[in-house]
Symmetry: C2
Subunit: 402 residues, 2 copies
Amino acid sequence: MKAACILVGTELLNGAMVDTNSIYMAEELNKVGIELPYKMIVRDIKEEIIDAIQYFHSRVDIIIMSGGLGPTLDDITKDAIADFLGKKLIVDPEELKVLHQKFASRGLPILEMNTKEVEKPEGAISFENSVGMAPAIYIDKIAAFPGVPRELYDMFPKFLSYFIKEKNWKHKIYIKDIITYGIPESVLENHVKDCFQEEGIFYEFLVKNYGILIRMQADAMKKNKVEKIKEKIYNIIGDFIIGEDSVKIEEKIVQYLKEKQWKISLAESCTGGLIADHFVRLAGVSEVFYEGIVSYDNEAKKKRLGVQKQTLDNDGAVSENTAREMLLGLSTEVAISTTGIAGPGGGSNEKPVGLVYIGIRVLDKTYVIKKIFHGNRQQIRQRTVLEALVSLFQILTKGCEM
Amino acid sequence: MKAACILVGTELLNGAMVDTNSIYMAEELNKVGIELPYKMIVRDIKEEIIDAIQYFHSRVDIIIMSGGLGPTLDDITKDAIADFLGKKLIVDPEELKVLHQKFASRGLPILEMNTKEVEKPEGAISFENSVGMAPAIYIDKIAAFPGVPRELYDMFPKFLSYFIKEKNWKHKIYIKDIITYGIPESVLENHVKDCFQEEGIFYEFLVKNYGILIRMQADAMKKNKVEKIKEKIYNIIGDFIIGEDSVKIEEKIVQYLKEKQWKISLAESCTGGLIADHFVRLAGVSEVFYEGIVSYDNEAKKKRLGVQKQTLDNDGAVSENTAREMLLGLSTEVAISTTGIAGPGGGSNEKPVGLVYIGIRVLDKTYVIKKIFHGNRQQIRQRTVLEALVSLFQILTKGCEM
């Protein structure tokens, strides 16, 4: 089966907003083995939307639209669908009642224009919006969702399971992602290309900001074969594999710390809270995450962490000794420190922009890693975070740095 | 004039790669007043590419394609263009010579397949690729660029200035964004809709994670009129406006602190480094950013910030008093503290998930804001960050909280 996405919204065309909805939808469709050969982005102009529906209606099995279901004047997606199908727009009294209740429960006044949010082409099925106002609708090969991501995430699975059942669609695909770090794409490909001889397994290399991902994709019946290839890949480049699928390196670290009943603390300078944020994003991290000190100012490094004035004076804030002394101010079993020059200013010949020291302590063993990263301020900070997390994970699991 | 983008590449459809090229192109086209009403993403399949060219060729003045100009088998964009136009593919001997020189100067062997990179439909104009191999081409309302961003950025301006000259196109547009916070979209629209009576000024509301943006866009000749409408909007909803264009609220805070020569410190619990990260992202922030304490564990709240054991025992970590005492551990002129239940666990009837206390101190005046946010863990944390930054900005500039 084939699907097409039509994303409606001028803001997606003028650079004001980056589309993430269609990436989510592509992945969900992919998982159930529905191909997505087309994506089109159009303005909030009825004729252009109808035109796009027309184009895809004969080419695919399902058109998935996102955006333009809201209450304002430029929300005309359902209008366009109704026109295309020659149906009129109706309001289901039950859905209107639910809408009134939603507004009331949030203490908001309902305006006349809000009624539009529950309009739909006659005969359309609705899917309940548990997190917002306008329900998603589905009629005659066309499904329409709000453009607000969390509302889409709420209703897309409901639609998809309905659609699959309706079509009696049983195809499933199996996707395995292997996440590598520290190995260039061409070297990686050279090492593992012989693993990909099996017919019907599609593989690709995806360059992500956290490393290179090897993706294998096949009919779910071939799951075992994919897993066998995975084992082969581990045998060849296991040292460079930091995870699988969407499991993040910080989750693996937290898992490890929980098993050991250890806690972790951070002393961040150039990464300024970014490593802390990676941990605190994870639910239940309080069991292992003790504290993070963003000791940005040199005074804070001295006062909060006990870094010596002499070290700062002689070696500078960006130095191996400072990274090492920052760790001394942290009391937990595991500790990370970062200090570097993220730029764009502040670099010199001796200490260029991108120079970073990462300190890692596990119990009484301390490591300091020196790196020079390229890129802009944000890239240098992100690379530092990744390097710190991967290095810590390597040290925890293998007892040595990479 | 109208343009359409056709992005070629299966990787843009399966979620493996996020398109940033079209955002760049949209902004460049926008600046010179060329509208971009359509974007379409198709696979590396010749018939589907030709089909898409066909669709747009009668609808727009210029089709801009990106992707599929490389040397490998699935690079078939120029093939598709030649087929559509009924032209044959040729190789310009001069361009082949340049290609050979490029390979030689990089010490790379040139393979036969690489010749494909300088193929083009007969009659096409080429634009030199200063950073990579394949030149961009332009023929009969169709321009094609490589998918590699830096190659696109190298050649797109060359093409655009050629195209504008060829068409004798002199139009320019003016865009003004007004950023609002704390006012729902429908209420906002109701308040300001009467401002938008002027012909030829396009306006829209964009829901961003930091608030709602009012965008006005018009011919550059109408700049003064747009600015007048902006003044009107300030008169009506000025209290909800937190910025203009792409200036972020944390930049405005930093600007304010620099003028006052004040410093800021943070004590974050539920936001866990996220506020620190917002500041440290900004270059030159060291002048005003002193430190951030991610006091996640209660022990850390006591030890690092001096929060009283009694307060934690009696009121709990998520309480007005804890937020207030966290501020006491910070020494700078301006301080923010956050403590809340980001979920998904940890909530109770009395203290539900989403309950957040934000402490703000400016010199000797302290404010504590209580909020209950909805959403998942990450959304609750992000809303807390935004609320804290906006509230601080309001307090700094107006001497009171919103």
